[in-house]
């Protein structure tokens, strides 16, 4: 959805518009004048687009920090990379009230069930950003204690870095916003044809179990 703004060149036009709006509210505007007014000031779109537009501009991330990246995640709330410019600054401590989980740090085998539970407690629609190398790929510590986050929950955006700069996280957040608003066709939801976090299966009659085993009978989807 795109908004087009036109500058008001003539100051007197502003007054004219004000009077016109007042007339409309009073119910005085009729006939052709009403037609013209509506044409000028109402924008049509689909409900879906309008909803996704507003969703993308009012995400409530969760107050959730794991390790080093959490400090950099806090600094995007700070003055320099102010996340409030995008309407994402209302951090919520309860997973019930949040729609974005930023996994910021390394996920240990002890923490993984907790994170999965927190993610399950979040309501749809929900998104997840994996911030930093540790929870995307275990980074420098590929050892007995850690698990990558992809193995126990779906991730929408991976932000690389160790830790990523706040600007990098901001870029990831804006990519996620594009995704929410439907501009960006990449990611696991499209690949798996999934809506929400429930997998929706194409092909009639296929049970959930069949599809889980063989989602793409055609073979490798490398580079798809």
């Amino acid at each position: 959805m795109e908004l087009k703004r036109e500058p008001l060149t003539d100051p007197s036009e502003f007054r004219a518009r004000q009077l016109q709006s007042r007339d409309l509210l009073r119910g005085d505007l009729e006939g052709e004048a009403l037609e013209r007014y509506v044409e000028k000031s109402i924008m049509t779109t689909t409900l879906e687009k309008a909803v996704s537009w507003s969703q993308g501009n009012s995400i409530y991330p969760m107050t959730f920090g794991l390790a080093c990246c959490a400090i950099e995640m806090m600094s995007i709330v700070g003055a320099r990379v102010d996340i409030a410019r995008f309407g994402w600054e209302a951090f919520r401590a309860s997973p019930r009230q949040a729609d974005l989980l930023i996994l910021s740090g390394r996920v240990s085998v002890k923490m993984a069930p907790v994170i999965r539970r927190i993610y399950d407690q979040m309501l749809e629609p929900r998104w997840a950003i994996s911030m930093g190398a540790c929870c995307s790929s275990m980074g420098v510590f590929n050892n007995y204690a850690l698990v990558p986050s992809d193995k126990f929950m779906p991730i929408d955006v991976h932000v690389p870095g160790c830790p990523p700069r706040p600007e990098a996280l901001m870029h990831g957040i804006l990519r996620l916003r594009d995704k929410i608003q439907g501009h960006s066709p990449d990611g696991w939801r499209e690949r798996y044809d999934a809506v929400g976090t429930e997998e929706v299966l194409d092909g009639s009659g296929a049970s959930r179990d069949d599809a889980a085993i063989n989602l793409y009978p055609g073979g490798d989807t490398a580079g798809a």
Binding site: V109, M138, N142, V147, P148, D150, K151, D220, G223
Partner: protein, 169 residues
Amino acid sequence: MPDATGLELTAHELRDGNEESILGTEFQRRRAVLLAAPAHVPLVLRVLHGKGYTFLASLHGVDYFPEEPRLGVLYELLDMQAVDRISVKTRVSTADPHVPTATEIHPGAEFPEREVYDMFGVVFDGHPDLRRILMPEDFEGYPQRRDYPVGGEPVLFTYNEERSYGKWQ
């Protein structure tokens, strides 16, 4: 840190108290170590406590694989008045990894001893609450022993995620 002579004197003093308590000494550039018999660790710590080494700075577990006895527990003691450090080392085998606890002399040894138990499997007899501290309670094995593999998993990328055994379903 006491010098080499001071370390020997301390060792002699401890041996006078109990013949079997001190097995030997190690002296390096910045480090004086008393090798204590596992069963007599509390005695040694108590005597050193009386000599001014009242602060237990650190407690580590070490795996000396392939040497025997394999496991070692190190107590780094500090005398805050004289600004002096001394270490006590004790060695136990993996077959019988029992060391009496130091929590009665140094209450701050509680967490470090639990960590050594968690990572190396050294059992501290008499510890008030000896269970795993860092790993999940149902974890098997002692991960920081030298014969425990480092572990790790193949990393998932888009190109290999369909083939990887750990694919999220």
